[in-house]
Symmetry: C2
Subunit: 190 residues, 2 copies
């Protein structure tokens, strides 16, 4: 373990070009110099969008989940409302917007929980996680043909069971739920 006390250094970016220049999928090809001096001429990075995830928690103690289809893993699953941050909005504004669009719920108390990275070697985007308390279905749910959504309400106990049987397994949703359990003081009893 000779390097245990050495400083970890970033790579040096020598040059960068577009490997895939698509509106929804822009991939960069970086030429980088490693701390060892070695040069890699094909390190690929997806310039992915920043994402928001929000856990709506109703006045009567239920979480609002979305049942949706996810194409890359070809699965219909439960997750929290989530989506990309638009150009002219903050992460919190995006989270509030996504919650209303996908579920029809609005909230009088939105709290920032944490920012995480889901794939820091290859994806530039960060995921910003929020909790929405006192959620009520008084907003306008939007129909989105890209993302048909069925709304499901679950108590913390029911949601914990869904997590344990693998039905809720999207990383950013799962962290948001676990941090929300802690924030709401529900974790001690689960």
């Amino acid at each position: 373990m000779s390097d245990d006390n050495s400083q970890i250094k970033p790579w040096e970016l020598i040059s960068s070009s577009k490997a895939l220049d698509e509106r929804w999928f822009s991939v960069r090809k970086d030429v980088v110099k490693l701390p060892s001096g070695k040069v890699l001429d094909d390190y690929f990075v997806w310039e992915s969008p920043d994402i928001v995830v929000i856990a709506p928690f109703t006045k009567d103690g239920k979480f609002v989940l979305c049942e949706q289809y996810r194409h890359a893993i070809n699965t219909v699953l439960y997750q929290l409302p989530a989506g990309g941050v638009g150009k002219n909005e903050t992460a919190e504004q995006a989270a509030i917007r996504e919650m209303e669009e996908e579920t029809g719920y609005v909230s009088s108390k939105v709290t920032f929980l944490r920012t995480v990275s889901v794939y820091p070697t290859k994806l530039t985007g960060l995921n910003h996680l929020f909790l929405a308390e006192n959620a009520v279905p008084e907003g306008v749910k939007e129909e989105d043909e890209m993302e048909p959504t069925r709304i499901v309400l679950k108590t913390p106990e029911e949601l914990w069971a869904l997590i344990n049987d693998g039905s809720v397994h999207i990383a950013d949703s799962l962290i948001t739920i676990l941090l929300a359990f802690k924030k709401l003081g529900l974790d001690k009893s689960l």
Copy 2:
């Protein structure tokens, strides 16, 4: 909320082609038919590898973390040992191998915790999470110029503090740690 009781259907794959055909980054361009009938002719999917993450927990009650550089977010950070699953190994074998290669630790008790998806709309890969109890530094740490690694040992309280100040923010590591806390009965006291 007219679609709340309707069944959520998968998309129909009409055809697929390679948009980027690189050894470390293979991107598929799918033509898909949505449940609405609309056809999308450019839905991109990164055929990403399956990943393993493992939380080594020592006999004297410390977690073994890796300080490493992550290029896409240009940050030096703490995370658990992790890596791709090889062609001729199971996820558990890969996790045990990655733990020894990155940290030099081996364990007599490896437990599967959960499989998660970090980006189910765009990445095919799944992440398999493990806990390694009774971890001891009796293996062989490998020097990897792509991934120089400094090993850091943290008590659960120190690790929870690092999570709360944002120093540990990689999604799969974070879930593994939170589930390990629960499995080890540490969560009630944090």
